[in-house]
């Protein structure tokens, strides 16, 4: 009885307490604070923002006093909160550089000989010397608001604006289509793709706050006052580029002319390395881009082969070959929509034509597909009997076809060239020195040939001029073997970077290629599909055998090129600001 009564009392207490908790305590503390609190805070940061706006030829820039940056990372979280970023989204980062891992040479390894080792452990007095105890330096970094911003120049839709007055590189969020090309173009890993919104966002130096005479979030929140805003002369930035973002392991400043200065009394570049220097991690394989490239290149190659065969008088393959080429190209362009965060606005992609290779790629590829459709139509029209009466002057079609054919091929290879430039233009060393050109053109030829072969295999038996066809098969397979051998040789030569004395970006790419099973898979499928099976085409095969061999040639070379492109994306090492010893995968 007593127990029950207590229980009742408890239960009502539970409700009472839960009820009490629904009231916030704020009513109780009437607003005691005056509203001009920032004024008091201003004494802390007033020296950290410039008094005057930039004059013509000048712009705002970050200046970091590294001697004051001690790695607390308050700036990262304050920027996140005061800009209302999404969960986990950050516009500022703090990395670490430290002495190269070769120091402390005169430290003696502890003596493990128990007889000699004093107890308690006391190392010899000369073991330590403060001069040589290693140095570490935290580095806070955000957008460098470059004079020639890679993001802006690469953007296909003009979603970046460099403010003419302040020089702040601003991202226009509603303009962005989420193609992420800016994230490849920036040498500092600044623009961040926001999956939730389907767009990229980045630091705008809190331009709204600056305009109102308030400090950016990071400037205001650094407990040590390490970050400030200065006014720099853009001519000076270009003339003296190496002085800006002077940091070990960071991309050459001549690429975009960043404006941030990192002040320190120490010479960082000479003796130090980024803490993530040794960290090697595969990049995103970018599957939609990967398939788009392979399929459009197949298309370009197939149209090339068709035009050559047409010139040689082989017509049997043309309808299927053009159709396959057209479909491949269209699917390629369709697939790439999966890559976009906001595909609805993809129509804006022409806007960047003046500076963006991506814009050019989109326009040229569109043109290519338009011409390809016209050409395919011209090839197919005569084969559809009931349409023949409608073809106006008889004989115009073949004439038109001979005219359009080479134009399609040129458009196709312009597309391949623009694609190559899209990557060649980025600061990733693995994508420079013409590598995209060699890879993309050979892919076009290999897959174009393989497509022609499999179609030849398909159509050969019921057709009459098998003689001509088999000559053609030998010719194409021969060329395929030559190009494949050359390409594999070219790719193999890249592994010489494994012998680079320092861990260069290219050595990292080579190491990544060495480590992934995609490399042997690529090698085997391509040797079999691009060399061994084409050799088999030089012996006499039954119709079924021919179809089987060409079919495997197509599948294996396609697999091989897809793997080649997988390696192209996943083994590219992006330049970036110094990171942390163990990078976090998100």
């Amino acid at each position: 009885m007593v127990k029950e009564r207590t229980l009742d009392r408890e239960v009502s207490l539970i409700d009472l307490f839960l009820e009490e908790q629904t009231l916030t305590a704020v009513e109780k503390f009437s607003h005691l604070h005056d509203t001009d609190r920032l004024a008091r805070h201003k004494t802390v940061y007033q020296d950290l923002i410039p008094l005057n706006q930039p004059l013509p030829g000048q712009q705002y820039a970050f200046e970091v006093d590294l001697d004051k940056c001690t790695g607390c990372k308050a700036c990262v979280t304050a920027c996140h909160n005061m800009n209302g970023l999404n969960s986990g989204e950050t516009w500022r980062a703090v990395g670490l550089v430290h002495d190269k891992n070769t120091l402390n040479t005169n430290l003696i390894y502890p003596q493990f000989d128990l007889d000699r080792a004093p107890q308690p452990y006391a190392p010899p007095a000369d073991r330590f010397s403060l001069d040589i105890v290693a140095f570490q330096q935290n580095v806070t970094t955000a957008c460098h608001h470059c004079v020639e911003p890679g993001c802006l120049l690469g953007c296909p839709v003009q979603a970046y604006d460099k403010d003419p007055l302040t020089g702040i590189v601003k991202h226009l969020d509603d303009q962005c289509i989420g193609c992420k090309y800016c994230t490849l173009m920036c040498p500092y890993d600044v623009p961040q793709y926001n999956k939730q919104l389907g767009i990229v966002r980045k630091c705008d130096m809190c331009s709204g706050r600056l305009a109102a005479g308030e400090p950016p979030a990071c400037v205001q929140s650094c407990p040590n006052g390490a970050i400030r805003i200065t006014v720099v002369d853009t001519v000076q930035v270009k003339q003296n580029a190496a002085a800006y973002v002077a940091m070990p392991g960071v991309a050459d400043s001549h690429y975009t002319y960043p404006t941030t200065t990192f002040k320190t009394k120490r010479d960082l570049a000479e003796t130090m390395q980024p803490a993530d220097h040794d960290f090697i991690e595969p990049a995103d394989p970018e599957y939609p881009l990967l398939f788009m490239l392979i399929l459009t290149q197949l298309s370009a190659g197939a149209f090339l082969l068709e035009t050559i065969l047409h010139g040689l008088g082989i017509e049997a393959l043309s309808p299927l070959l053009t159709l396959a080429a057209l479909l491949s190209g269209l699917i390629g362009l369709g697939v790439v929509q999966l890559h976009l965060g906001r595909p609805l606005f993809a129509f804006r992609s022409f806007l960047g034509l003046r500076t963006s290779w991506l814009s050019r790629e989109v326009i040229v590829a569109g043109l290519f597909m338009g011409l390809a459709a016209l050409y395919t139509g011209l090839v197919w029209l005569p084969t559809i009997p009931f349409l023949s009466p409608f073809i106006p002057p008889v004989g115009l079609a073949p004439w038109l076809r001979s005219l359009v054919g080479p134009v399609v091929v040129v458009a196709g290879f312009l597309t391949v060239s623009c694609s190559a430039m899209v990557y060649q233009a980025t600061p990733r060393p693995f994508w420079r020195q013409g590598r995209p050109f060699v890879k993309f053109f050979t892919t076009a030829f290999i897959l174009g040939s393989a497509t022609a072969l499999v179609i030849a295999g398909w159509v050969s038996s019921p057709l009459a001029d098998t003689r001509l066809l088999s000559d053609m098969i030998r010719l194409v397979s021969g060329l395929l073997i030559i190009v494949t051998v050359a390409k594999l040789g070219y790719e193999a030569s890249f592994f010489t970077h494994l012998n680079d004395e320092t861990l260069t970006s290219l050595k990292k790419s080579a190491l990544l290629m060495q480590r992934t099973p995609a490399t042997p898979a690529r090698l085997i499928s391509t040797i079999v599909g691009g060399i061994l099976l084409p050799l088999a085409l030089w012996i006499n095969l039954s119709a079924a055998g021919l179809l089987a061999v060409t079919g495997f040639i197509f599948l294996l070379t396609l697999a091989g090129e897809l793997l080649e492109r997988y390696l192209f994306f996943s083994c590219a090492v992006a330049p970036r600001m110094p990171g942390n010893p163990i990078r976090r995968k998100l």
Partner: protein, 740 residues
């Protein structure tokens, strides 16, 4: 041209289809002016009002400005006019609201069913089970067989109610806090040397010193806002760091002494030796305000520079440079944290620092002091009001007069107050081991992660007959092995006060609602008292603020007297108030330090020189275990066992996800360990795998592992300071090998 024929607005509209400068996405981050003096913020985050409260992570005790919209917390900034942090906060503070919304909050009580899984139950069932099981255990094994482990993370009103309910109501004798792991050493050192647990400083001292000595402390990472105060120092101070690692603070300092681990006691005796030998001491101060100096001088006679150099690995010249810097300083302050406290001889090491301050007269003046920086947000509150080591208000369980006084304030029978001291944390754990403790109640701490030599603790928790864990998450390592989980409201969902490292009492407020039926710890203790049948004893403890008034009265006449603080509103208005603040005090300055009159809290009002010969390392390196394992904090974005900080996606980005071990590149080369490779780290107690970070900031022969990953304490060696019982986390012998 086109404008002639079509309206401009249409041109604009069509134009914006192609180039869109504005829209929903843009406005998501466009900054608008707030009228509350906060500067510009995104429109959707503009608050209706703000309120200041103390941060719930570390003992710095920053003021956070909580932004409220429709009375709910939506964001925060660092309070611009709070005397502690002056508009600054560390990443944890900036992200303080995020962990409240974590999906694994305990929203209901959980009880382990017969199949061994935790099942949701009602509060009524939870309360009944708590009482039945603990009473059964007490009936069978005696009252002392049920103990509690509390925390430095809850407000002092809650920890006081817990201590009172458990000891006065439920008859428990043993209860301690996780504060044993962080500042017990400083407590004992101060009590013995000064007569009361009294860190003497105010943060202003960071700005006023001309020599600042940090020992076993890395404020750049562990207390970044305090380091921010150092950066405001206009005296171009000499900053000395004593640490075996080249930490962030060591890099930022002007002098770094990378001593051999745990040679600190010998080092400070050696410095005292040099100071005395050169006459670099303040004889008038020593004579007037201290006792025991001559014995101390005789003791340090043996610590010649040569001997100390041998022990510490520092050169004789370095020792002289260090001593001379102290001598030349006009305002020298000594600061220490866990490098000193978490040691098997920590009390004497802390006192060696106190001795250096005393003998050079560096105490009681601006910019001076022997100053222990505390860890948790309310560790200082627990030191005075948790009713564990001390009776409420810094009183002594062993003294009848103290029991009488407190009983009077509380209006209870003095007989219900235990006349014996509680066992310290390690003794309670030992009690579990040898069967004296059968029931354990753990509040807001995570020993299954944090306790030294964790492997053994896991076995011991299994041996308990009943384990209750009260926490805001049901997923902590400890909650996972509990029999009963009680869901607690978090910081931000309840009221109370914290005491920060400089003795400042700061307020926390309810700005968010606890999820489900989670209740403030305060209310949970009230409910348990009712269910136990002792609720009547705590009638006067009707609310946190009523409890604050009780605690004020308990403090009357003590060094920590706070009877002059009217109420919560007064605390709120002034940005917190430091103890002491007895009735009649005026708040001329809100940044006050102790001992300005040279009177200490000992019977003779003199500070004592206390010292002892250094003892051998509990576990020296050997041929089988040739590396010294150092542990500590690794980033400002991680807090203790990460139960809260792990819930913030931004904070998670700021530190490695997996446990890692820092190794000097030379050692790595010797062992053929490559960067980022998995390595096996083994001690005599356990073996774990960790990622290798090759970095020359750790010395050859040392490795460093952060305490935030649960693996680390599988390795640590359970040695304890004999006076403070604080675990010696910072040094044990391990071996390294390549591979998993």
């Amino acid at each position: 041209m086109i404008h002639k024929y079509v309206p401009a607005s249409l041109v604009g509209k069509v134009g914006s289809i192609f180039r869109q400068w504005d829209g929903a996405l843009t406005r998501d981050t466009v900054l608008e002016s707030s009228t509350l003096g906060l500067g510009k913020l995104p429109e959707r985050l503009l608050p209706d009002e703000t309120t200041t409260m103390t941060c719930g992570y570390c003992a710095t005790g920053c003021g956070l400005e909580i932004h409220l919209k429709e009375s709910k917390a939506i964001n925060l900034t660092a309070t611009a006019d709070y005397p502690v942090n002056i508009g600054q906060a560390c990443p944890k503070g900036w992200e303080a609201l995020t962990p409240l919304a974590a999906p694994d909050r305990a929203t209901t009580p959980y009880l382990r069913d017969d199949s061994g899984t935790l099942q949701p139950v009602t509060w009524a069932k939870a309360l009944e089970t708590f009482v039945d099981r603990f009473k059964q255990i007490q009936d069978k094994y005696g009252r002392e067989s049920v103990a509690f482990l509390s925390t430095g993370q809850i407000p002092m009103e809650e920890m006081a109610l817990l201590g009172a309910v458990a000891k006065f109501g439920m008859g428990m004798v043993h209860g301690d806090g996780n504060t044993r792991q962080c500042m017990a050493t400083a407590v004992v050192a101060y009590k013995q040397s000064f007569g009361f647990d009294a860190p003497p400083y105010t943060y202003r001292d960071f700005e006023e010193s001309d020599v600042i000595v940090f020992v076993g402390a890395n404020p750049c990472v562990a207390h970044p806002i305090m380091w921010g105060r150092v950066c405001l120092n206009q005296n171009k101070p000499e900053i000395i760091v004593v640490d075996p690692r080249r930490t962030e603070t060591a890099v930022a300092a002007t002098q770094h002494y990378a001593l051999a681990p745990k040679s600190d006691l010998a080092l400070f005796y050696g410095l005292a030796h040099i100071l005395i030998a050169n006459g670099w001491i303040d004889r008038p101060f020593i004579d007037r305000y201290t006792t025991g100096f001559d014995d101390f001088a005789a003791h340090v006679e043996a610590f010649t520079p040569e001997l100390v150099s041998e022990r510490s690995g520092l050169s004789v010249e370095q020792l002289y440079e260090f001593a001379e810097t102290i001598h030349k300083g006009q305002k020298v302050s000594f600061w220490w944290t866990m490098g000193v406290n978490q040691s098997y001889e920590g009390v004497r090491t802390a006192q060696a620092l106190i001795n250096l301050a005393l003998m050079t007269g560096n105490i009681g003046r601006p910019g001076t002091g022997a100053n222990s920086i505390t860890g948790q947000c309310n560790a200082m509150g627990s030191r005075l009001f948790s009713n564990t080591t001390n009776l409420l208000g810094g009183h002594d369980f062993l003294k009848a007069a103290d029991r009488e006084k407190v009983a009077n304030v509380l209006g209870i029978d003095p007989a219900v107050i235990p006349d014996q001291n509680s066992w310290p944390y390690p003794k309670i754990i030992e009690g579990v081991k040898n069967g004296q403790i059968k029931g354990l109640w753990i509040i807001a701490t995570n020993p299954a992660h944090s306790w030294i030599n964790q492997g053994e603790l896991h076995e011991l928790l299994d041996q308990l007959e009943f384990l209750v864990v009260q926490d805001m998450y049901h997923t902590t390592e400890t909650a996972q092995v509990a029999d009963l989980v009680l869901p607690a409201a978090a910081w931000g969902e309840k009221e109370g006060t914290f005491i920060n490292s400089e003795r400042r009492i700061g307020l926390i407020k309810r700005v968010a609602q606890a999820p489900g039926v989670a209740l403030a710890d305060f209310y949970i203790f009230k409910l348990l008292a009712e269910a136990w049948g002792c609720g009547d004893l705590f009638k006067a403890w009707s609310s946190p603020e009523a409890t604050f008034q009780i605690l004020k009265r308990c403090s009357a006449g003590m060094p920590c007297d706070i009877t002059g603080i009217d109420d919560y509103v007064m605390l709120d208005r002034h940005g917190g108030i430091q103890w002491p603040f007895p009735t009649g005090s005026t708040l001329d300055s809100n940044e006050r330090r102790l001992f300005e009159d040279g009177r200490f809290y000992t019977a003779d009002e003199k500070a004592k020189f206390l010292f002892e010969a250094p003892r051998p390392l509990p576990e020296p390196i050997s041929e089988d275990y040739p590396f010294v394992l150092l542990t500590g904090r690794s980033t400002s974005a991680q807090w203790h066992t990460q139960t809260r900080t792990q819930k913030s996606a931004v904070l998670r980005k700021l530190h490695p996800a997996e446990v890692y071990v820092e190794i000097n590149p030379q050692d790595a080369q010797r062992l053929q360990i490559g960067p980022n490779e998995w390595v096996c780290v083994a001690s005599r107690r356990g073996k774990i795998k960790a990622r290798a970070v090759l970095i020359p900031t750790v010395q050859v022969g040392h490795v460093f592992m952060p305490m935030h990953y649960s693996e680390t304490n599988k390795l640590t060696y359970p040695a304890f300071d004999p006076y403070s019982s604080q675990p010696s986390y910072k040094h044990c012998a391990v071996t390294l090998s390549r591979g998993e």
